[in-house]
């Protein structure tokens, strides 16, 4: 029963997304351009700076991947609030479609988009990135999809609290972007002051970054089971909370 309509709805939503004037370009092309552009700019300094070198080799690809995931989350928040405001969610609910089917379709659309953007980023990176990219492609994609899937559940929570569609994007950004600052990507968590340390511990992005960095440098999955578990836990908690507070109209 759950599956009835799921694939058709997912496919329709993918097509609708591609019809958005800036949809595909904004969310797919721009992260890739930023990744390559920043990489090349920093790449020239690599011989003189150890930290620039390590950032270009690991930090930037992980940051770019994280931005792809976050833009998927923000886009989800916006779409859900527009659909709610326009009565589209309500109209879909007045059919035999299960509520969870409607939301699952949107999650799948965002995961497809994330995977497509990552693919483009890695392909462009092979050709234009200043340092060689030797990543286990499938493993890294999988790691990013798990991370995205987990933080999409935060997106549903945010979508529940934004008052109108107009505020969806800014409120989402205000919540999501500061999370990047304390996720251990720019400075190791151990070096953070104690209160930020605690914040980093409950920050979902921390686990996403640990997982992505690890898989990028070639760690086995077994070394990151704790991160995956944390991401699954975050998903479970946020989904349970959303189920309580989510508004359909």
């Amino acid at each position: 029963m759950m599956l009835r309509g799921l694939w058709k709805l997912t496919w329709v939503e993918v097509k609708i997304f591609l019809r958005e004037p800036l949809g595909a370009i904004g969310t797919v092309v721009i992260p890739v351009l930023v990744f390559i552009g920043t990489g090349r700019a920093l790449g020239r300094k690599i011989p003189d700076s150890v930290s620039a070198g390590s950032f270009v080799r690991v930090g930037l690809p992980v940051l770019a991947s994280l931005l792809i995931a976050i833009s998927a989350v923000l886009s989800l928040v916006t779409i859900i609030s527009i659909y709610r405001e326009g009565g589209i969610l309500k109209r879909l609910r007045a059919t035999p479609l299960r509520p969870q089917t409607i939301l699952t379709a949107h999650v799948i659309v965002k995961l497809i988009l994330t995977a497509a953007t990552l693919l483009l980023m890695l392909l462009a990176g092979k050709r234009y990135y200043p340092v060689g990219i030797h990543v286990r492609f499938l493993s890294f994609t999988f790691a990013l999809l798990i991370s995205t899937w987990s933080i999409l559940s935060i997106g549903f929570l945010i979508a529940s609290i934004v008052p109108t569609a107009r505020f969806a994007q800014p409120i989402g950004a205000i919540i999501m972007y500061p999370m990047i600052a304390v996720c251990g990507l720019f400075s190791p968590i151990a070096s953070l002051p104690p209160f930020l340390h605690a914040l980093a511990r409950v920050n979902p992005l921390t686990y996403a970054v640990q997982l992505l960095q690890g898989i990028w440098v070639g760690d086995p999955w077994s070394a990151h089971l704790a991160d995956v578990a944390a991401l699954v836990l975050i998903f479970a908690v946020c989904t349970a909370l959303s189920a309580k507070v989510f508004r359909w109209e």
């Binding site: 029963m1 009835r4 309509g5 058709k8 709805l9 329709v12 939503e13 097509k15 609708i16 019809r19 958005e20 659909y83 326009g86 009565g87 589209i88 309500k90 109209r91 609910r93 007045a94 059919t95 035999p96 479609l97 299960r98």
Partner: protein
């Protein structure tokens, strides 16, 4: 035969506001039943309780034998719904919406192309939802409400915001739905719409149902007054008019007379009087009360206020 919809003692509150209070009525198989009243009277809340989208605080509802809230998925397979002020995804194409909806139901959907044809949407099948006119959007929503060949169709303020021409076209479509043997439950704040479409109406105000009957019976019961307005230069006319049986008042403004009474045969009697007395008239109109007058009488204010 069991009624298709049975509503009994339903109450729904939002905080301290009572939206629907002790509402009871039945809708019979194959009729167009209208819930009429001003905006905010509780029409949509009542309808959404019946559709299973809201849970009433009290009372019981049965639709096709189902409890709409507990058995909402079973019910939704057999009903068609058009919601007030609903939208679809801006850039979904007409055929995609119909195709998506067709895939959602357990029973076999009706032929989509045929449905679009009947609703005059064939040449719009590749158009985006956002580019449709108001009338086309409503026709699409009717298509979506009919795609599963439902036994009961719910239409909430179907023609609000449409121009008179589009409105008339939609009325014809709704009559077409009844002709296919389906039951139609609609809400409207347009008395003309209710009068022209509905076999029976329930008048609702402040969440309470004031009366239920056919539009004709409601008018006869609450507003039996009718009047003939005519112009004549005949000096004896006024006396003749006063002698017509059942006439309650005759008022004259210049050569224009208003003859009022409660008798069903008032118009016939006036015509007979004119002919028997060879009274020549230069103008002749009748004023018959309608649902609008019934509403005014029952609530003390016009439905537009």
């Amino acid at each position: 035969m069991n009624p298709v919809i049975q509503v009994s003692g339903v109450r729904k509150t939002y905080g301290s506001t009572i939206a629907v209070d002790e509402v009871s009525f039945e809708v019979h198989d194959g009729e167009i039943f209208g819930l009429i009243g001003p905006n905010g009277a509780g029409k949509t809340t009542t309808m959404e309780c019946i559709e299973g989208l809201r849970k009433p605080d009290r009372g019981s509802i049965s639709v096709l034998g189902f409890d709409p809230f507990r058995q909402v998925y079973k019910l939704q397979d057999r009903i068609g719904v058009q919601l007030q002020q609903a939208q679809l995804q801006k850039r979904i194409k007409v055929w995609e919406a119909v195709d998506l909806w067709a895939s959602l139901y357990q029973k076999k959907a009706v032929d989509a192309e045929n449905l679009l044809e009947q609703l005059g949407l064939t040449d719009k099948r590749n158009a985006w939802f956002m580019n449709l006119s108001g009338g086309q959007k409503q026709r699409l929503f009717i298509a979506l409400a009919l795609i599963n060949d439902p036994e009961v169709v719910f239409l909430d303020e179907l023609t609000t915001g449409l121009d008179p021409q589009a409105r008339r076209a939609i009325w014809d479509l709704v009559r077409g739905i009844r002709e296919r043997g389906k039951t139609v439950f609609l809400t409207t704040h347009l008395m003309e719409e209710a009068e022209r479409l509905c076999d029976r109406v329930a008048i609702i105000e402040h969440g309470r149902i004031i009366d239920i009957d056919s539009p004709r019976n409601l008018v006869d019961r609450h507003c039996p007054e009718r009047a003939v307005i005519l112009s004549t230069a005949d000096p004896l006319a006024e006396t003749r008019f006063r002698s017509i049986k059942g006439v309650e008042s005759v008022t004259a403004v210049g050569t224009e007379f208003t003859i009022s009474g409660r008798n069903d045969d008032l118009v016939t009697d006036v015509i007979q009087c004119l002919s028997e007395n060879s009274i020549r008239v230069t103008d002749f109109r009748t004023i018959l009360p309608n649902l609008e007058d019934v509403f005014l009488k029952l609530t003390g204010h016009s439905i537009r206020e």
